[in-house]
């Protein structure tokens, strides 16, 4: 920079030498290592990490467990197995994007499946009507969470920790802790098992429930990325006060997020009946935590405002791939749990690292 060539002969020639000087704006000296470049790319595309992990893990398990793992049949089975947790993760993502957390998602889902089952099997309500009641109930349950968070100003963690227990207790009370049998559903309300139907293409077996999961994600992705509402959700999650100053009605946005999450849980309830085959009040007890696992592995920041909802889909699939792959490789259940634990920690560590990037 200091070397400007030979000294000018006349006073008027200084501009000439200036032309040879560094024209860039003053900046901190830094070199971009490949790692930093990667960090930047990942910061811009938070879904990239789970996609890469998913592809790599499918490849690795394909090599370890071979044909049995890497068949159309098994891969579609994995999608089928994660479909319910996937939908819960979609609901969970909505809430986590607002820097909240919803511990009650699985409890809402199971409660709504029990309500739909009780109404149609024991009270003779037509199945579609029973489902509408369940959808309304799921939305109401979500709105209750939202109300407690926005109006009563309770932290989301505490609110949903409480409603988790409340919904679980209601579920046990309504169901008497008894499952509704598959054969009763077949006789009286086969419509409730609609999402258990299967489309077979070659060896692949795609259930309606798997398709529903993808549709739920696509719809929510559209709403979050292509509508004003979606931008508001991200804004509230990123910085609630700034969003408020910018004129966003943050409470209303939050309320809509919790309500929608409840509705998604109720839709998942319908799908879960098809998936499990019966209505079990004891199933999915850890569904809330599994949904959080999927969201976190999917690269959605627990601090809100960052990450794509599609990440949660990949997160759920990664968990499914690990479980299936490890099982087919003959690994004991306890080591599967161990592996998922590390996945969570590594995912959050990567998120923290990406967040440190200087934009």
């Amino acid at each position: 920079m200091t070397d400007t060539g030979s000294p000018p002969d006349g006073g008027q020639d200084y501009e000439e030498s200036l032309a040879k000087s560094d024209r860039s704006v003053a900046s901190f000296a830094r070199s971009h290592t490949p790692i930093e470049t990667l960090q930047h790319v990942l910061h811009g595309n938070p879904t990239l990490v789970p996609v890469i992990v998913l592809i790599v893990s499918v490849g690795i398990f394909g090599l370890i467990a071979g044909e049995r793992f890497f068949s159309a049949f098994n891969l579609t089975l994995i999608i089928q197995q994660v479909s319910i947790i996937g939908m819960l993760a979609a609901a969970q993502s909505l809430v986590i994007l607002t820097a909240g957390i919803d511990l009650s998602v699985a409890a809402i889902m199971v409660l709504m499946s029990v309500i739909a089952g009780k109404l149609s099997i024991e009270m003779g309500v037509p199945a579609p009507l029973a489902l509408l009641v369940a959808f309304a109930g799921g939305t109401a349950a979500g709105l209750l969470n939202g109300f407690l968070v926005t109006k009563a100003k309770l932290p989301p963690f505490i609110t949903t920790l409480g409603t988790w227990s409340i919904f679980y207790a209601l579920n046990l009370w309504l169901s008497g802790a008894q499952s509704i049998r598959s054969s009763d559903l077949d006789e009286q309300a086969p419509f409730l098992k609609f999402f258990g139907n299967v489309i077979e293409i070659g060896g692949a077996r795609i259930t309606f429930g798997s398709i529903l999961m993808v549709l739920v994600f696509v719809a929510l992705w559209y709403a979050l990325n292509k509508t004003a509402w979606g931008r508001h959700v991200y804004a509230v999650g990123d910085d609630k006060e700034a969003a408020e100053l910018a004129g966003i009605r943050t409470d209303r946005t939050l309320l809509s997020v919790y309500g929608l999450a409840g509705l998604v849980c109720a839709i998942a309830a319908w799908a879960s009946i098809g998936r499990v085959g019966s209505i079990s009040p004891q199933a999915f007890y850890e569904g809330n935590l599994q949904s959080i696992t999927a969201v976190v592995i999917g690269g959605i920041s627990l601090f809100g405002g960052r990450g794509s909802i599609l990440g949660a889909l990949f997160g759920a699939l990664i968990v499914g791939v690990f479980q299936s792959g490890l099982r087919l490789a003959g690994v004991d259940v306890l080591w599967q749990v161990f592996a998922i634990g590390w996945l969570i920690i590594i995912a959050v560590a990567i998120d923290q690292w990406i967040r440190k990037v200087s934009a």
């Binding site: 998936r275 019966s278 087919l328």
Partner: protein, 340 residues
Amino acid sequence: MTRTIALASTAALALTLGAGGASAQDDVLACLITKTDTNPFFVKMKEGASEKAGELGIELNTYAGKLDGDVETQIAAVESCIAAGASGILITPSDSRALVPVIEQAKDAGLLVIALDTPFEPADAAHATFATDNFKAGELIGQWARATIDDPANAKIALLDLNASEVSVDYLRDQGFMTGFGIDVKDPTDIGDEDDPRIVGHDVTDGNEQGGREAMENLLQVDSGINVVYTINEPAAAGAYAALESFGLADQATIVSVDGGCPGVEDVKAGIIGATSMQFPLRMASLGVEAIAQYAKDGSVPQPTDGLDFFNTGVTLVTDQPVEGLESIGSDEALEQCWG
């Protein structure tokens, strides 16, 4: 001086009477502590205990953990019972070992402790255990399966167990089944150390439909030719059937289970479950309450069944395809005795 003491003791006596209630039997307090109050099995237990307590005119306090494995809540419940001056505790321990110290405390405080359904480790941590012979329960369905299927020497067997912690009920049923079927179980307290080639695999179900379905799907992925399915309980069996059905293999496999819950017996009737071993939670709890009442009266402790280290409350094979040499009852008869 003497007069003062007399007065004081009268007052103390009056206090005791006042606190204890009207009749002498009302002084007896029994506690029932179950793993959860949600599982129909424990609901039935509570029903049996309440009925018997009402009949004998003794007071009953019931406690339950929030979920299976909730040790803290059970410890707190035992402590409450000691503090309340109960005569005895009936408990289904959520953890066979972790609860032993607090149970020792209860015994030291003079309470009769009876383990229901799940024994302690060591079993003599409690005064007595009232339980289903879970090994026998497994053995019965194992024998039945061997006698029923076409070619037991070349069977392909899936075992759907409870969870990763391998509690005693889990391994007793699992290993009992194998023994009945004629498989060398090696260590009878360890699931999964067997090397019989007929075993396709073990997986866990958490004892519910969803877990049963997923576990069955996984094992069918390992070998789609599975034709014998052992399940820890009937909800898991229902899930296994759903998986077989979705693979189009519903007719290929014989499912056996343990419990005797009403939905499970219905499934036996419908041909979904081939055979199940029925246990009797109501009887367990009502016998337990009787034992506490007896202990409060004369201090006698219940004795184990001959040849076992626990009091056997019985197990009955339920099937609509009876096998010669194996005592069983049909599903219609079982529906009158089932629980839940």
